[in-house]
């Protein structure tokens, strides 16, 4: 009798463990991988040349300042064509795409984004020669932008 109780307890415990794993899996189920595939078109992305400057700790996820710098001379023959901001945990992973050109003079821009919890922000820069470069920043969000709550 005692053995059965223990077995039942262990089964229940396993159920609890499985339940706690689920939210962790749900966090990455916002279609981030699919969106990354759509943005890159399957091309290889090389880490580097993109610097994402953001506060390590953001008090409020509703408005997180973000500054992006790309190492590029911004000439007619060699410039940044576009910069794409991706979020790992937002319900919509694609936050924004910015189109630049040689008329910008400097491959740098700043904006403010919403972040649904602590996560890594991925920025992909597309250069005029078609190559893709990426940079990322870890942001700790104290109060997330409750995008799906009332």
């Amino acid at each position: 009798m005692a053995r059965t109780t223990r077995r039942r307890f262990m089964t229940a415990l396993a159920g609890v463990a499985a339940a706690t794993l689920l939210p962790a899996r749900a966090q990455t189920s916002n279609g981030f991988a699919a969106m990354l595939q759509k943005v890159t078109g399957g091309a290889t992305v090389t880490p580097g040349r993109v610097i994402v400057d953001t506060p390590r700790l953001a008090d409020n996820g509703h408005s997180v300042p973000l500054r992006i710098r790309v190492d590029s001379p911004m000439t007619a023959s060699d410039h940044v064509a576009s910069v794409t901001l991706l979020s790992e945990r937002n319900p919509r992973p694609l936050m924004a795409t910015f189109h630049l050109g040689p008329r910008a003079g400097r491959a740098e821009l700043a904006t403010r984004v919403r972040l649904n919890g602590s996560q890594r922000v991925l920025v992909i820069a597309k250069l005029s020669d078609g190559s893709l470069w990426s940079g990322s920043a870890e942001v700790e969000v104290t109060e997330s932008a409750c995008l799906d709550a009332t």
């Binding site: 694609l94 008329r103 400097r106 904006t111």
Partner: protein, 106 residues
């Protein structure tokens, strides 16, 4: 829609100038509910185009991941005296426009 654009009133030819734009807009995500429990439809400024003397210098495609009252800062090369024209449109089709003049010397 109320917007504010900022750029230096004058610059030397070839100088890289800083351009800033802030637009008053709720950037509704479509995930929120109003007091009656009805979902608030998604409404964001999905496109912002910046032209300098007719040529595009910057364009932004935005989604609900951009904070309310979107703020953007970027750069442009001062070429000739003229005008920066900022045009944007939101999901309801409402358009906005703002202009700023610049005089280029040298």
């Amino acid at each position: 829609m109320v917007a504010r654009v900022q750029l230096p009133p004058s610059a030397r030819r070839g100088e890289v100038i800083e351009v800033r734009v802030a637009i008053q807009h709720p950037m509704e995500t479509g995930f929120r509910y109003d007091l009656m429990g009805k979902p608030v439809p998604k409404n964001v400024i999905n496109n912002l185009t910046v032209r300098y003397n007719g040529a595009q210098v910057f364009r932004a495609e935005m989604g609900p991941g951009v904070a309310a009252n979107p703020y953007l800062q970027f750069y442009a090369v001062a070429e000739q005296s003229g005008e920066f024209v900022f045009e944007w449109v939101d999901d309801t089709g409402e358009r906005g426009e703002e202009r700023a003049a610049i005089s280029v010397t040298g």
